[in-house]
Symmetry: C2
Amino acid sequence: MPLVECVPNFSEGRRKEVVDRIVAAAEAVAGVKAIDRSMDASHNRAVVTLVGEGERVAEAAFRAIEKASREIDLNQHQGEHPRIGATDVVPFVPLEGATMGYCIRLAHRLGERVGRELGIPVYFYEQAALSPARRNLPDVRNIGYEKLRDAVQSDASRTPDEGPKAALHPTAGATVIGARPFLIAFNVNLATQDVALAKEIAKKIREKDGGLPGIKAMGFFLDDLKLAQVSMNVCDFRATGLERVYDEIAKLAAAKGVEVHESELVGLAPRAALGTQTASHVKLRGFDPTKQIIESLL
Amino acid sequence: MPLVECVPNFSEGRRKEVVDRIVAAAEAVAGVKAIDRSMDASHNRAVVTLVGEGERVAEAAFRAIEKASREIDLNQHQGEHPRIGATDVVPFVPLEGATMGYCIRLAHRLGERVGRELGIPVYFYEQAALSPARRNLPDVRNIGYEKLRDAVQSDASRTPDEGPKAALHPTAGATVIGARPFLIAFNVNLATQDVALAKEIAKKIREKDGGLPGIKAMGFFLDDLKLAQVSMNVCDFRATGLERVYDEIAKLAAAKGVEVHESELVGLAPRAALGTQTASHVKLRGFDPTKQIIESLL
């Protein structure tokens, strides 16, 4: 059974009852669980994490998008975060038994259905993007609803991939649907108070500055532990896994005579990212597979 | 306009007139060109390279599959190469303006149509695979037509992704459809006759032995040039490009006091694999963009 995660973002971060109804619509699909949700009032935005068998999760996502299109009027929406839709962005993420190709197919089919049945224009992004210009979410979304409403009529580069081609939905705007690898939040704490070293290592390992594929990293000082930390998003664990990035950090620290104290996983990780030796190899603190491996929750 | 390459393999390498009719069926779609074809009598197999706008190429591939299903009877077919279908395998490859996600969608849609309209079971492979067990072509195909005919009825792990679920097509068998990056054949000639060095470098750089992602490599001696050669398939140029693999070879050769004589491209490469400086950087011999950049041929 192919398992997937789906993390829809909705443009509602203040009215809890609205988000409750959207989540309830998704969870009405048997076998689908909302394992997490968060709301942010200043961004005026909610993020929900759905997991289950792929086809069922896609059905749940459709029902959530439909519900959001009735509950949220983007013309009334204000918030600091860029957005173009009541349901703003919907990524599918492969878990055990699924491939990226499977998630791309879920994304494309959901997009086709959202366009046809709900009349909401859809753009495909990241791994599901149909053109190179739509790979990066900011390039698709950062124009915002108000400007996109005009641009979609006049600018061919803004023509949606599915659904109405020349007009946004009058209240729900447009939705960005796609597929991407699981994002793992992973931190490595160094046995030093030298935050400059953590910042230097972060710069060396992050992809943006020529480091490891899929790694985003920053250096921090942890007030509670009195330690310097390299804090990361591991955005493509098949390209650069936890052991690889840990080894690189340990090597760079050792060159300055500093050891690694421990590492920590923030939230969940997919089973495929953690081999039998990974937790001990990377000195993972308090790792509990039954609570931190996402497939164990199902 | 998204451009793609499609490289269908047919189980016919002896009757030229049959391959001619299959190619003619594909080229009947306006805007689609068959830029290459090869036949192998002992493998009893033909490989055709189609290029053009994505949707048109997919239409051409469909017509070729339909024609092959009428012209080739797999029950009468013998050859050394493993195969399961009259049209055996159909990969889509992104060129300028296209993404892997676009090619995956072409593959999934073509597969659905081949199953429904032609009654031929379809398996998706590589980037279009729906399950991890079908990523590698040999795992899907090497069972061969005769054994798959029985297995599809009794072994759930062999159930097709599209089309009839429990019986192969009586004459056309089954077809494997997918998406993959462009394969670049790239050789680096060393200024030495020491073939052992070429073999040693090949072993260090190839992915199989822990080297660079997407690189397949072997060492040879070139009788005509009296030089040792590292001969490669660059299977994922976005993961490891020509300059990167060239630099690694040059570094390993230099460590033994050997210089690179020149490199050569065998056949075509996509524009995205060759930056403005690439040809000079890798000392590419006799490079002609108008003949070797695949998009220039259209």
